[in-house]
Assembly symmetry: C2
Homo-oligomer: 328 residues x 2
């Protein structure tokens, strides 16, 4: 089924073999099937297959330099946040004739560079990313200028438009809320803090309000659930203080909190939990927890708007959007 070496047929060959006009083939290729009998459509389709004809939209791309495809690079497709981000991006892009295609960094910075090299060598019109690497690394990996929008992870001194969350402020105000309820000890469940600006900001917000903070850093690539759970239980039982378990990522909340509830370690009195979470599951946990929602779908939509501004050659002056997270 490969085309190696074969001389490729053109639209005239297809029209000739199908016994129709070039205009009809062209209508077929543009999906205007309403304008021909299904019998004609079928004949054209068969001719296209027999001749192994490839529509010359690629040749067209060479001229217009547009594929109408936007590369979307997210940190991990296993995270609901990342996939919702993509759904929001896609919805807006598609309303304007573009298509978002998803690349998965799989929580691996090296992999991000590899994906960026591919994206840079292909016909994408733009790039929206939840960056793992810094700007210089990203530019070098792409090896060509491309309209870029970053989302979620703040990039300092960036020339690219970005959409971020008020991570520090929300983490701090939520911490204050629990401190005022008498909670003096915080256990932070998080992926490696230094690896993402988002986590650093959130952690900074928590430590600004709590003096007694224990951080449990979990590797996204490989971790021992039971060992982490035991550590968590030890930290809870090691103190008489009222303890808040603060999950910086929904994945860790869903992985550990239900088990703590089942083991009756979370009573919303001596021990409670909160965290960043957007799925229904998290909000349906019993006992009900007050959680931080970021609205990744809206963040994605906003990032897509910033991308469309660039593609249409009118970037806005202040291309930095902060979407405030909600505590509910």
């Amino acid at each position: 089924m490969s085309n190696k070496g074969k001389k490729s047929a053109n639209i005239k060959d297809v029209a000739a073999l199908a016994g129709v006009s070039v205009a009809t083939v062209s209508r077929y290729l543009n999906g205007e099937l309403g304008r021909m009998s299904s019998k004609t459509a079928k004949t054209v389709q068969e001719a296209i297959e027999k001749l192994n004809y490839v529509p010359n939209s690629v040749a067209r791309q060479m001229k217009t330099r547009s594929s109408k495809m936007i590369a979307v690079v997210v940190s991990n497709v296993d995270d609901y946040f990342s996939t919702e981000l993509f759904k929001g991006i896609s919805a807006i892009l598609e309303s304007r004739g573009y298509i978002g295609v998803l690349f998965d960094v799989d929580s691996d910075e090296q992999r991000e560079r590899k994906l960026l090299r591919t994206i840079g060598s292909q016909m994408f019109d733009g790039l929206i990313m939840q960056p793992a690497n810094g700007p210089q690394t990203i530019i070098e990996a792409l090896r060509r200028p491309l309209p870029i929008v970053t989302v979620d992870r703040e990039v300092d001194h960036s020339s690219w438009p970005q959409v971020i969350v008020n991570n520090y402020e929300i983490a701090r105000s939520v911490s204050r809320h629990f401190r005022q309820l008498g909670y003096t000890h915080a256990i932070v469940l998080t992926s490696e803090i230094k690896k993402a600006r988002t986590r650093q900001e959130r952690y900074r917000g928590i430590t600004a309000e709590f003096n007694h903070v224990d951080a449990i850093e979990i590797s996204e690539l490989a971790h021992n659930h039971q060992a982490t759970y035991r550590r968590l239980v030890q930290l809870i039982q090691a103190t008489a203080e009222k303890t808040l378990i603060f999950c910086l990522k929904e994945r860790w909340l869903l992985e550990f909190v239900p088990q703590l509830v089942f083991d009756q370690l979370i009573d919303n009195q001596k021990v409670t939990a909160t965290g960043f979470a957007d799925t229904d599951y998290a909000h349906q946990l019993e006992p009900r927890l007050k959680l931080i929602s970021q609205n990744p779908y809206l963040m994605g939509g906003s990032a897509a708007e910033l991308m469309l501004n660039q593609l249409q050659d009118h970037p806005q002056p202040a291309d930095r959007i902060v979407i405030p997270a909600k505590f509910k």
Copy 2:
């Protein structure tokens, strides 16, 4: 930042401006940065940006007809099954120099056709899909011959290699297991059954063992959680029979079972639950449930192997792989 109308620079222009040889620019473009000083790399990069030079890999594609990108179309990126499938596909493809690019059908058949039209008009080397539409619709939407592998949802009389699960057999043997434990009533929690062959097979397996079966079909696009939950509770309480809640999709298991546990409606005596589930969360639910694991990662890897066979012009005779699901 768009390139409208500009005459594009070529590699010689870049070499001239950077004051290096064309070979050096070419090494830079191939990522062989180890073979030049970082100063040289920087100079080349600046020349590329100044001239807005786009590597002519697209021109190369026109000749070789290869972008090394495989389009992967999944039914919904919010499903762990779909994202794990993609991770398995990517791992194998990348070990052989290809990159998997993800498209999200978002549980919408019309959307699948739209995505396929884009894929058909772009330079993808192949297509691996979890199909929502039938073969004829897929061929018409693509409008060009492309190596195709289907996965998860069985396609009848398909000329394409496919990777599937033994849906009927596993659903039936698991049903028998619970029947032998005295469960005589089954409540099936599922997305619209007629919309996916996978669900039809699983439902067939359950009804082959249980006489008393209630099906609750939930829309993936929009559903009322509380109404569905009330219906579920009514069905549980309407009978004195031992009831098995059988979730055909992990999403429904995670959305409803924890609440049933909290409301003490699941005791693993009068009422128990099982279903298709691959995430850690599902397997950590308390009380522990025996669940059906499909290993989407392995399914994806197998689909990628079948694709590589086609791309290397040696498709295997029996290109239909059945990955047996596990009950544990």
